[in-house]
Amino acid sequence: MNAKANKNQSSCIEPSYYQAVTQAIRTQAVQVLKDGTVAGVVGYLPGRRKGTARPALITTPEEAEKLIFSPACVNNLSVYLTKSKKGVLKQGRIGIVAKGCDMRALAGLMGESQIKREDLFIIAVDCAGVYGSRAERSESVTEANIARKCHECTVHHPEGADFVAGAATELSGLTPLEAEEMARIEALPQAERWAFWKEHFSRCIRCMACRQVCPFCYCEQCLCDKNRPQAVENSPRPAGNTAWHIVRAMHLAGRCGGCAECERVCPMDIPLNLLNRRMAKELKELYDYEAGLAPAEKGPLNQYKEDDDQSFIK
C-alpha cells in the first residue's frame, strides 16, 4: 500500500485529520447507498455529550451525511454482523466502517464462515488511534489519551478494504504499555499472579458486557449461561468469576483479534486484554499463528501438526 510509504509520524493528531476521514466516509457511504451497492451502512454518529460517538445502523443517504469518524469512534462495529445481533441489519450487502483492529475481527469472522466478503463493502479507516476508556475527550489525540491498544497497534493501515478513508498518520514513540504490563505479570511469582487476578476477577459483576461486545462471542448458547448441567457458576462471586474469565480467555484463544473492546467496556476496569494478549503470544510462539491477519479456514486450535510440541506431556 502506498499509504505506508508516506507515513506521517507525530506527537499529536489534530482534529482536522478526523474531519478529513469523516468527509471521506460520508462521501463514500452516500455513494454506495445511492447507487444501491449496499442496503445499509454500519458507521458512527456523534453522541449527545461532547467528544462521544455511537454506532449507527443507517439505510438512507440523508443519514449517511451525518456519519462521523472521531477519536471517540471506539466501537468495533463488526459485532453487528454476527448472528448474536441478527435481525438488526437490512438484508443485502452491508457497508461497514472499520479501523485496522476491527478489520481483524472481520477477517476472523470470514474465516469462521460467519460472514462473506462479497456481502460486505468495507470502508476502512487509516487509523491514527482512538480515545482510551475514561481518558480526556479533548479534541486531539496524544499519548495521554490514546487507548492502550493503540500504543502497540500494527494495523493502522488496513489492507484489503473496498475503500480507505484518510492517509496514514500515527503517533510516534508510544510506550508499549500492555506489553510491559504483561511482562511484569509474567515475571511475578506464581502466588502473586494469582493474587493479581483474584483481585480483578473478584470485582467482576458479571454484566457480560465483555461478552456482548465481542465479535467472537456469538454463540447462541454461551457455556457460561447454562445451568443444567452447570459448567461455570452464573453467580457473580469470586469463584464463578474466575472460572468465567478462564473459560472466556480459552474460548477466544486463537480467534481474538485484539480490538480490546472487552476491556474497554468493562465497568469494573478489569484488564481483560492482557489475557487475550497472553494467549495470542503463546499461540504465536507455539504455532506461529496470528489471528485476523487474513481469513483462515482453521484457527490454531482446530488444526494440528504431527510434530507439535509435546514436551509438557509424559
Binding site: 457480560m208 458486557a209 456482548q212 452464573n234 453467580s235 474497554r264
Partner: protein
C-alpha cells in the same frame, strides 16, 4: 445556627463508628475504580468521584445466599440465613442520586411480599448523604426531580461548604441519633457558603408527559431507532441505583449447596426466555423498551415513583453509547 462537621472530624466519625463495631461503607479507591466498600478507617474515604457502582448493593448485594442445603443421613437439611446477624451499617458519602435510591426501592421490596433480606439490611442502616459537587455531562438528576443538594433518602445530609467543612442536616430520627451520639465532633458554622454544583446538560423533563407518551407508544419506530444498537449486556442495569431485578440460582451439588439471589438485567436475552425456548422479547429493542417502560411508566403506575435518579451511570457505561437522558429528552419533545 446550622451544625457543621470538618472533614477531619468526618473521618474521625468513621473511625469511631468502626470502633463501635458498625460496618461503615463509603466510596473507596479499589485499583483504578472507586467503589462503595467497607472502610477500615476514616482515611480510606474518597470523596472526589462518583463510585462506579451504586450504593444499592448495601441492601441488595450483587449476590447473596438465601438458604443452604446439605444431605445429612439421607435427608435434605435446609438452613435459613440468620438475618439477625446482619450488621449495623452506616453509609457515608452517598450523593443524592445514590442516597435516594433505597427510598425508591423500599416500595418494590415490601409490596406483595416482604423481602426480608432487603428490609433487614435497610432497617439496620443509616445513610449519610452528601451534596454533590462532582457532576459531569452525563448527570441529569435535576431533570428527573432530584438535585445535587436534595436530601431525599438521607438520614443525615452534609453540604460541602466553601471552607472545606460540611453543613449537617439531620433529616430523620436516625440521623439525629447519629449526631447526638457523637455531638462533640460537630460544631457551629462560621460561614454557610455552599460549594458550587456542576452544570448539567439536560433540561428539566416533564415526567408526566413522558409517561403519557409511553402509554400510547408501546409499539413505536423509536424503539428500533434508538436501541437496535444495544448489545444486550447488563452494565446499565447493574450499575444503576434503581434497577433491582434478580435471579435465583441453586449452586452446588446434589449433596450440598446454596440458593443464591443475584443481580439480573432485562437487557439479557435470557431474561424472558421461556423453558419452551419461546422468548416474548425476542429482539433487543423490545428488551431496551422494557428498560424505559419500567423506569418511567410501570414503576410509576404501581408505586408512584420514577425508577431513575439521573445519576448518569448508564450513560457513561453503555458500551454502545445509548444515552438515556437524550432518549428522555427526545420523548419529552414529542408532540403526540
Amino acid at each position: 445556627m446550622p451544625q457543621i462537621i470538618t472533614e477531619q472530624n468526618l473521618r474521625n466519625l468513621i473511625d469511631l463508628l468502626v470502633k463501635e463495631s458498625k460496618v461503615v461503607v463509603g466510596p473507596k479507591q479499589a485499583d483504578s475504580v472507586v467503589l462503595y466498600q467497607p472502610l477500615a478507617a476514616g482515611s480510606e474515604l474518597t470523596l472526589d468521584s462518583l463510585p462506579r457502582r451504586s450504593a444499592k448493593e448495601l441492601f441488595f448485594p450483587i449476590c447473596e445466599n438465601i438458604l443452604s442445603y446439605q444431605r445429612l443421613d439421607g435427608k435434605m437439611q435446609v438452613t435459613d440465613v440468620d438475618r439477625s446477624r446482619f450488621p449495623e451499617t452506616v453509609l457515608i458519602g452517598a450523593p443524592p442520586c445514590d442516597a435516594a435510591s433505597p427510598a425508591i426501592l423500599d416500595a418494590v421490596f415490601s409490596w406483595d411480599y416482604n423481602d426480608e433480606f432487603y428490609l433487614e439490611r435497610r432497617r439496620k442502616s443509616t445513610i449519610v448523604g452528601i451534596a454533590c459537587t462532582q457532576g459531569d455531562d452525563a448527570c441529569f438528576c435535576t431533570a428527573v426531580g432530584l438535585a445535587p443538594d436534595t436530601d431525599t433518602g438521607s438520614d443525615l445530609f452534609l453540604t460541602p461548604l466553601k471552607d472545606g467543612s460540611y453543613a449537617c442536616k439531620a433529616v430523620t430520627e436516625k440521623g439525629k441519633a447519629l449526631v447526638d451520639a457523637h455531638a462533640r465532633l460537630f460544631g457551629e458554622a462560621a460561614s454557610a457558603d455552599a460549594a458550587p454544583f456542576a452544570e448539567q446538560g439536560t433540561e428539566k423533563l416533564d415526567l408526566v408527559k413522558i409517561k403519557k407518551w409511553l402509554e400510547g407508544h408501546f409499539e413505536d419506530p423509536l424503539w428500533e431507532k434508538i436501541s437496535d444498537i444495544c448489545v444486550g449486556c447488563g452494565s446499565c442495569a447493574f450499575i444503576c441505583p434503581a434497577c433491582h431485578c434478580f435471579d435465583i440460582n441453586d449452586e452446588g451439588s446434589t449433596e450440598q449447596g446454596s440458593r443464591r439471589k443475584h443481580w439480573d438485567a432485562c437487557g439479557f436475552s435470557k431474561f424472558t426466555n421461556h423453558a419452551s425456548g419461546h422468548n416474548p422479547r425476542d429482539v433487543q429493542n423490545k428488551r431496551y423498551r422494557n428498560r424505559i417502560m419500567h423506569k418511567f411508566k410501570y414503576y410509576d403506575d404501581k408505586f408512584g415513583r420514577t425508577l431513575c435518579t439521573g445519576c448518569g451511570r448508564c450513560v457513561r457505561a453503555c458500551p454502545v453509547g445509548i444515552d438515556i437522558a437524550e432518549i428522555l429528552s427526545t420523548i419529552n419533545a414529542k408532540q403526540d
